[in-house]
Symmetry: C2
Subunit: 188 residues, 2 copies
């Protein structure tokens, strides 16, 4: 396997990404976040600065990509056998991650990047993977957007702007709300 790696389609691109990410992670351990520059990263990674600008756009986007890669789960969301269970497992892990120091740094970096929407794309992909498991179930499923509004948004908002993160009890109540059948029209 190892000797064929260089022939794999996308192999060079993947190696550039890996060496640039590694360079950023190393520099973040050695010096202040605010003092890191693109030329410095390029030298460490053995690429030209223009490679970095072409691929990531700017430093903030690169930092955000590295932060996202660190938090992006390598595996599928846990499969517990029920939609409620899968959502609980996913939402509890997300709450843990976002309440951590790397999670807060990631949210800061992502906001400064040129593509903050990428964050929702990743979240949406994970939630869609869960929903796809239950596509054949009887009742209608909640939409990905609905789950983002009801689960991801309060989790992040409370970490960023409140004195206390969401409790697991609140999270479970929000999951019930997200799974509830749609409401009738307002009766005023």
């Amino acid at each position: 396997m190892a000797i064929k790696e260089g022939l794999r389609p996308g192999g060079r691109s993947a190696r550039v990404q890996e060496s640039v990410h590694t360079a950023v992670r190393e520099l973040l351990q050695e010096q202040e976040r605010a003092s890191i520059t693109v030329p410095q990263i390029a030298t460490r990674a053995g690429v030209t600065p223009s490679t970095i600008y072409r691929r990531w756009g700017d430093l903030a986007a690169l930092l955000a990509d590295v932060a996202l890669a660190r938090l992006r789960p390598d595996s599928e969301p846990a499969d517990t056998g029920s939609l409620r269970g899968d959502l609980q497992a996913w939402a509890e892990q997300y709450l843990d991650e976002m309440s951590s120091e790397p999670g807060r740094n990631m949210m800061r970096d992502v906001q400064c990047s040129q593509t903050p929407g990428y964050c929702v794309t990743i979240l949406g992909g994970q939630l869609q993977a869960i929903l796809d498991r239950y596509a054949d179930s009887a009742g209608p499923l909640p939409s990905v957007e609905h789950l983002i509004n009801l689960l991801a948004a309060p989790t992040v908002f409370r970490v960023l702007f409140s004195t206390a993160p969401l409790s697991v009890e609140e999270l479970h109540q929000l999951i019930e709300l997200a799974l509830a059948p749609s409401l009738p029209n307002p009766s005023s």
Copy 2:
């Protein structure tokens, strides 16, 4: 009235706040946000830097306070005669404010401040004022925390991390969800 102003309790404190806020607003119009310093603000406002540090803690907290003061409504939330109507009016105005450039800057400043929880305190006060109007109504009212999770959180999350802000239709659906009676326990 005017000649008694100096005698009012808190009069000096209010004047310091006003002149410091004015200095910040003027400097923000004249130069880059990142180049503003506390000594500069102090000189413009006619106070010492230590007055500013004592009162606000740091520059980020002061910028956040100025941003919050600009967005903090001077008046009570609109009174439309129904809880649903009041929440709709409040939530639509909040969505407008947070989607604006000053709203985004405020959220950035607040996250950098030492008291990000202050933001939720202001929101909570406005929502509590609305709920207080309907304290005598028949059914149970939603809690302030529930309204923040269901209305403020998705509004802010979508502005910061998604490619499109919440639509007014989504906002109205979330209000219905917030007003719905509590759900029974999970039937699994």
